[in-house]
Symmetry: C2
Subunit: 357 residues, 2 copies
């Protein structure tokens, strides 16, 4: 029977299945094959993420697994000693901090990190989840990227735990997650500038669809509001967390009639862009312009002057996510579904009291 | 029979084996078990990198495999779709460039990179090779780290290809490797400074045990020699490729009675350290001091001023190494055993004509 024949014969399989009690025992591979009217080998291919199965057949088998669950007939084969780390893109030191955090915990448990890079997309494309199922990792950590509902369901159906690291967009309530206290960080950054006497404080944010970025901006607004300083809309720039955003917006801000005396850049990359623009405009940091970043990547220490920033404990966040994978893979419950690690102000050389005037 | 018993009974196994023709057919798992006087399950454990085998037993089995080779009885099981990337340490943007290069080729072949990090050691410790054998990757790329002879032999005995990326220390002739034209790069860096009229040119190198570092220094010496400019030993500083080395040695160099007008830092990190020291000493780059780096990491573009450097095509080197793995894993011969990619001068803002005087 070819895959095409099988797909054609699937007629009422799902309807029959739907009439069963969906809350019963998970199905074995043989039961799934019987209900779908396909061979056990075909179900096995779908379960193992092989691609040589007709899409319709795969759809029916996946739907049966989604509804009823899937139970291995023999004792469950051990997952591979891998932790899958999905990056939406691997750029800059951010990724290194996270990989090292995962590796620290992985080593203790004799697991190795596998890197998937999504070439800048925030949701993995087709083929990605098949490859992951074929690798059978102990768990998946999704960094700044979001699996779609089908991808999450397919990991769940194979018992592969998923943990989100600083998810963007709407929180996905089914998967546990690790984040940083972004709102507090934004509040702290701006309070630091207010305490130094700054009132014209600009902010350069990340993309609006990222919760982390929104939270930092909201923290900034809260600090301004509590200090009784109105937020001037001309001083709020929506960037994309890139160095060039910091540079471009700073040039724009410095051309304002009443230019800011301080800039809160919502990540360290943007802060480096602020440095560039200040140098190009002949302004000194911090004498003429104070700058606060966010992340505390290693490069901030060797900027000239060293950058005042909000430390986001990326290494520890990644280690926490890896520990959650280990716990879930052992079949144990998580103490908490959402972990937020504290951010803190690291005051270095890029902030100074505002000039009177 | 316990593992201890087995180990005790191994007496003449190796001697018997040694008397056989070492050039014969590779042994099957059953033949190895018979010769070693242990169970097939025990040999299988050793082959698969399991740790619950007494060291003596493992030693005898490994030695039999080393001498005779090992032939899988069934058709060889396909390796896992993984490329193992071994870093001696994951620090800085270097690692990101390499991972992206590996990922580019890996994606085309539906392989995923697995990261091993050696916590700063240059040779993987015990346990590492067992973990790799258990993962059964399609191949191993060793970045700036060197497997010892036993580790290499164990990969070979399982048919797991190994490619070295810019190996340090003595070249290991058995494994294919990818490097950059380091000597040419050193020559080009110093020629650029000589062409600008500099004569007091200092060099800050990497560790002496790294061939890449030695080659860059030798290229520097050759350029000086060909220009008839003697190398002043006071201007040669042996560093460790860290930012802090650049900073510390520059302070030292600037205290000399006849201080250098230009510094060739043998990697970009050290060049950033030169920037720091220059700022601390109140010197302007390039007006008072010219600086050339090596690597062309992304950070060099956004240094202030942007760094003149020698581009080492890390991304392409890593992609070349991954392609070699794919070729070897397919059982095909490599067009060449050693690949060297060209380096090139990227002239930016950190070099200027020497002041007359």
């Amino acid at each position: 029977m070819t895959s095409a024949d099988e797909a054609a014969s699937l007629g009422g399989a799902l309807d029959d299945a739907a009439s069963d009690d969906a809350r019963g025992e998970p199905l074995t591979i043989a039961q799934i094959a019987r209900r779908a009217g396909v061979s056990i080998a075909t179900v096995s291919k779908v379960v193992n993420g092989r691609l040589d199965v007709a899409p319709e057949t795969r759809g029916v088998v996946e739907e049966l697994i989604r509804r009823h669950g899937y139970r291995r007939q023999k004792r469950p084969s051990k997952p591979a000693p891998l932790i899958e780390v999905v990056f939406h893109e691997l750029r800059g030191l951010y990724g290194i901090e996270i990989l090292n955090g995962v590796a620290r915990v992985a080593r203790e448990h004799r697991l190795a990190p596998v890197v998937s890079e999504l070439e800048g997309r925030h949701t993995p494309g087709r083929g990605w989840v098949e490859d992951v199922l074929a690798r059978r990792p102990t768990g998946v950590i999704s960094v700044f990227s979001r699996l779609d509902e089908e991808q999450s369901a397919r990991l769940r159906s194979r018992g592969i735990p998923l943990v989100l690291l600083d998810p963007t967009g709407e929180p996905e309530h089914q998967a546990p997650s690790v984040g940083a206290a972004n709102w507090n960080g934004g509040l702290t950054a701006t309070r630091h500038l207010l305490d130094l006497g700054h009132r014209r404080i600009a902010v350069i944010t990340g993309p609006e669809h990222m919760l982390s970025s929104r939270a930092r901006l909201d923290g900034h607004r809260a600090a301004m509001d509590m200090a009784g300083v109105p937020v001037d809309p001309a001083l709020v720039c929506v960037g994309d967390f890139q160095i060039e955003d910091g540079r471009r917006f700073t040039h724009q801000l410095l051309r304002l009639e009443r230019r800011p005396t301080a800039i809160f850049a919502c990540n360290d990359g943007e802060a480096i862009g602020v440095y560039q623009a200040a140098a190009e405009a002949g302004l000194r940091i911090p004498e003429d312009l104070s700058v606060v970043g966010f992340d505390d990547l290693p490069m901030t220490e060797w900027a000239i002057p060293p950058l005042t920033t909000i430390r986001q404990p990326l290494h520890d966040m990644a280690a926490a996510a890896a520990s959650m994978i280990v716990t879930l893979a052992a079949g144990e419950p998580l103490p908490r579904h959402r972990v937020e690690l504290a951010t803190e102000l690291i005051a270095r050389g890029s902030t100074a009291p505002a000039n009177q005037g």
